[in-house]
Symmetry: C2
Subunit: 714 residues, 2 copies
Amino acid sequence: MILSALLTSVGINVALCFLFFVLYSILRNRPSNAELYAPRLVAEGKFEEEDEFSVGSLLSSVKWVKRAWEPSEDELLSNSGLDAVVFMRIFVFGLRVFRFAGIVGIFILLPFNYMGNQLNIDFTGLPSKSLETFSISNVDDGSNRLWIHFSAVYIFTAVVCYLLYYEYDYISAKRIAYFYSSKPQPNQFTVLVRSIPTTSGTSFSETIESFFSEFYPNTYLSHSVVRRTSKLKGLINEADKVYKRLVHLKSKNNTQQRFKRAGFMGLFGRRVDLLDHYEKKLEDMEGNVRTERSSVAGKEVPAAFVSFKTRFSAAIVSHLQQGIKPTEWLTEQAPDPQDVYWPFFSASFIKRWMCNIVVIFTCFSITVLFLVPVLLVQGLTHLDQLEIWLPFLTGILKLKIVSQVITGYLPSLILEMFLSLVPPVMIVLSSLQGYIALSQIEKSACIKVLWFTIWNFFFANVLSGSALYRVDVLLEPKRLPELLAVAVPGQASFFIAYVVTSGWTKTFSSKLFRLKRFIWSHLKCWKSDEELEVPSNPYHSEIPRIVFFGLLGITYFFLAPLILPFVLIYYCFGYIIYRNQLLNVYAPKFETGGKFWPVVHDATIFSLILMHVIAVGIFGLKKVPLASSLTIPLPILTLIFNSYCQRRFLPSFKGYPAQCLINKDRVDQMDPTISSFYDKLATAYRDPAMKSIRYSEASESSNSPLLRNADNRS
Amino acid sequence: MILSALLTSVGINVALCFLFFVLYSILRNRPSNAELYAPRLVAEGKFEEEDEFSVGSLLSSVKWVKRAWEPSEDELLSNSGLDAVVFMRIFVFGLRVFRFAGIVGIFILLPFNYMGNQLNIDFTGLPSKSLETFSISNVDDGSNRLWIHFSAVYIFTAVVCYLLYYEYDYISAKRIAYFYSSKPQPNQFTVLVRSIPTTSGTSFSETIESFFSEFYPNTYLSHSVVRRTSKLKGLINEADKVYKRLVHLKSKNNTQQRFKRAGFMGLFGRRVDLLDHYEKKLEDMEGNVRTERSSVAGKEVPAAFVSFKTRFSAAIVSHLQQGIKPTEWLTEQAPDPQDVYWPFFSASFIKRWMCNIVVIFTCFSITVLFLVPVLLVQGLTHLDQLEIWLPFLTGILKLKIVSQVITGYLPSLILEMFLSLVPPVMIVLSSLQGYIALSQIEKSACIKVLWFTIWNFFFANVLSGSALYRVDVLLEPKRLPELLAVAVPGQASFFIAYVVTSGWTKTFSSKLFRLKRFIWSHLKCWKSDEELEVPSNPYHSEIPRIVFFGLLGITYFFLAPLILPFVLIYYCFGYIIYRNQLLNVYAPKFETGGKFWPVVHDATIFSLILMHVIAVGIFGLKKVPLASSLTIPLPILTLIFNSYCQRRFLPSFKGYPAQCLINKDRVDQMDPTISSFYDKLATAYRDPAMKSIRYSEASESSNSPLLRNADNRS
């Protein structure tokens, strides 16, 4: 790629970004778009309409940038929880890293690269210079200038490690502070107990009651056994649908629509009053639900939520092995009641363990096998080969427009389609692993998507550029640095373009403007029927994307510093846009207390080590073997730093220290409201499907919040 | 090696074993050897002398075999503790594995190997047949008979895994039972706290007191801060030496020896009464010790033993993170008071962490670098090369006796010398890692010695047979099975000889007969001076040896089944001899509650996987690619089995479940002696050097047990 081509691409994307920015600024305050651009504010009743369209209001509507910028971190914390703060810290961290990297890369490394003569490109004008001129490939072999790159790698690693340490420290302090400032929450007092042993003659409920009142007589409060409710949930869902249709019909008051023929396709048979029909149906269903609910009471699963009077005793029970057999009485801290993921609850220890192994294998194979579509798609760009294999296509392929569509548009479309499947698939896989909380599922999926992205975007792109058979080189670790050093710099221009299109434009179009939803909401006509759905931030698909741009920036820092400004600008855009979305669009669905940060930390450490491995290879190729050998301690030092960080900070992310728990408990004991909290606690973990709701009563409020609660996740 | 050579070697070693057996049987009951062959019985006052030497008594003295065989496991448990029982379970496990392997190997695999024609050895008599005739190398390439080997590998793996599971289950049940039957022990009620944060103005002792009485007011009992006592210990050791000399002089009552000239070499100057001289010296030293002891009181180290009223609260404190900073208030279950290793106590978290990393690197480099002496020594067997390098030696080397000594005896002598250094070196390395108990140090050293043995005995022998440069093949995992398949079968005869000489004869000579100590005790004349020292079983050097023979048996199971009877006989001998030693010679120094078993389990799993890797290679080489591919799932299944075992059993070896702890606590609360136990507990963890002892008082008992207590480890 030459410089002018890059500039053209940047220009087009900047124009697109600007277009989406203007469109968003204009449209965001229209009442018709309120549910699209500020569903959270609407749901909370805070949305402020603007009156009329004018140039003045257009200018003033750009104020959303200021409004997104202004709130302090504490305001964001109280508004969207600690997870949102930690999410924004990724951008703060990225900005800090790439501010430093950008200055070093553009003002020190880039000029030295440009002054090299290795590529022997004749001095034509700057615009037609290949981008390779600005990369390390242009530095002469064996040149002493490479020692500047060498020092840059060392200094950059030190700076990133310092920032990582600072950030980990900051977030773990935030986490403790957040815990101290939190109100009593059911999950803090509750432990999930699984694999309860079966005792003949007694129910699980009795076994639990006798176990915990024997061993924790002073602090044991209550328990609720989990029951097999999938059938009941199905019935409730059906009833819910009918109920909605009924409400809809009632609101219409249109006799035309009320009557329908009972026969084939509503054309024959006697006319039926639909209102009556649905009411009768609903009554039947309510009866079914009630019967099923009473029968479910006996379908106990060997798992229960056990609540205690203090946080400390809940922590004790969750940390210590309870039963003599380590596979029985498995305990863990319970998630928030609304964070519980009910469907896969019943799995026993051995079943979950097997599922785990199967999922790990599946995930591994998906990640590796995804190479196949990637390579097939890349095959589409080589039309000549396609013509050889499928000769009858020659005629069609000769048409310029067809070949342009096939080579230019189709590959990325197919790839995007495949890629959009990945996060949902990973969510399904994670949920099969037997996690009991949505937050755990999302965190696990986040890690899976992250490695998938790194493997299929970075390695597949880099290695497939050369040849498929090279993939098996990963089995010969000795040759890896050399291979990466050959392949990685060649893909620099591709990744710069990727940052600009997928990073900039996609963030503007799909995150800020919510293009797909915008089109969708303007196409459909039954819009008013649907309830307002406030989305939550999909951490499992967002964090891997953001971290991946960081990986690109870090890996290409000394190879092709030209990428750095683009990454830096991505992080600037992202900072404003995601802040705006967190404040206006996304409502927090759960609160992990910042447990996503260790994922980001590990990925950054991986990026650094990848950079070091490539540096070892590059310095070898560039005939400065001493620099190559001297780089080898760097990944080892980084790993040692990482192991220190894990010891120093990771325990804070797994649980809370005894000191905090006891202090917090003492404060609560003083509080007079604690007894009413205990009462609530006793029923907090009842399966939502088991909570009784009568449609006749609910009709009054024209909405069934309790029922929706049951499946607000699906 | 041919069959007759093997038989000769076996014959010689059987004769040697018999010789040592007879010698031991005769000598063990002589009073003069009592301290050598039954130090434990002597120390416990249970030694029974036999009167006179006669043929009848010779025959009856063989009864020791019966006496070693007879005691049940429960008797061994009450006599020598759970560690000894677990140690003997290694032999029981080995006997079970190789009983099965031996039957399959000798009666099924061996005949098929022998019937093969691959090696084309002409049919001379059986005695001059090469041992290779009995190995898998003799099976024809591509022969269907290899499927028998294939099935044998699968069945054998299944049997070993079943036995491993059974054994793990058995030992973890034993562990819980042992805990239930144990008396209250200080270590169960005590937690070691390290990295206590410094608070200005208060001593560590005050910080601990306020922390634990604030957060555990109901169960906190007492604490004792660790102090820097290395100087004090030095002084006490010196005083101890002088005191011993004094006691010796007094016991002689010989005026000749009492007086000595004060001048040069005792030849000139005035005559001094040594008794007076020493007494004065001792008094001075006592003064020094007292001064140092009072000054030591201020030299606090940020570590303390904190005792609680119940086992359960000690477990809570040791399992939960206490302080907000995960690197402060580090807690772990305390070891037995006499198991504490005082010297390296003061290390802070960061210091210990760094030491850990340094030790891991050192250990790794020692293990790898040990290849150098191994290869140099093997070079000695090629004298011709030595003549080329050092031509002036030619004359000497021509002498037959010299060349025989150099090629035959010197290499193994040098190697043995180097090897005997390994366990002590590993102990030193482990103690630098900051473990606070001798048992932890010994367990860690055990693991280090084990991997060292496997690497330097198995891999070095196998790979150096081919060439040094092949070592770097370990970096290309893909070629590993093929390489091992080529190299491993060739070393079968070497390892058979190794089992016979190092396994059989060495166990008889050095373990049973204690040859070195026997010679030593008969050479020295100042014998009576030394106190009777009861040795403890050196787990860190014994377990790796025993497990290594198991590894050889498992790896060669389908390659060269001829090794199996020899390994089986080794385990038979070992079972009797070690039982005898545990009952008569070794006194338990500490009690880990069977924590050595997971090491044995892991090593066995490693042996299985090594066998599978070799099988993959062998079936590939033998041109049965289908069998080769079908073997690949086997190591994966084995690893899955191992991961299940780790989840199922390992937690039981890390701590005791809440259920046991609470039950045991309740039983104790009923016991009226518990308050006197609490009193003892408060002083149990005082540094032995801090315990006051006056030599003048100790003189009466002519022995200083308390002082010896201070350094009974060194």
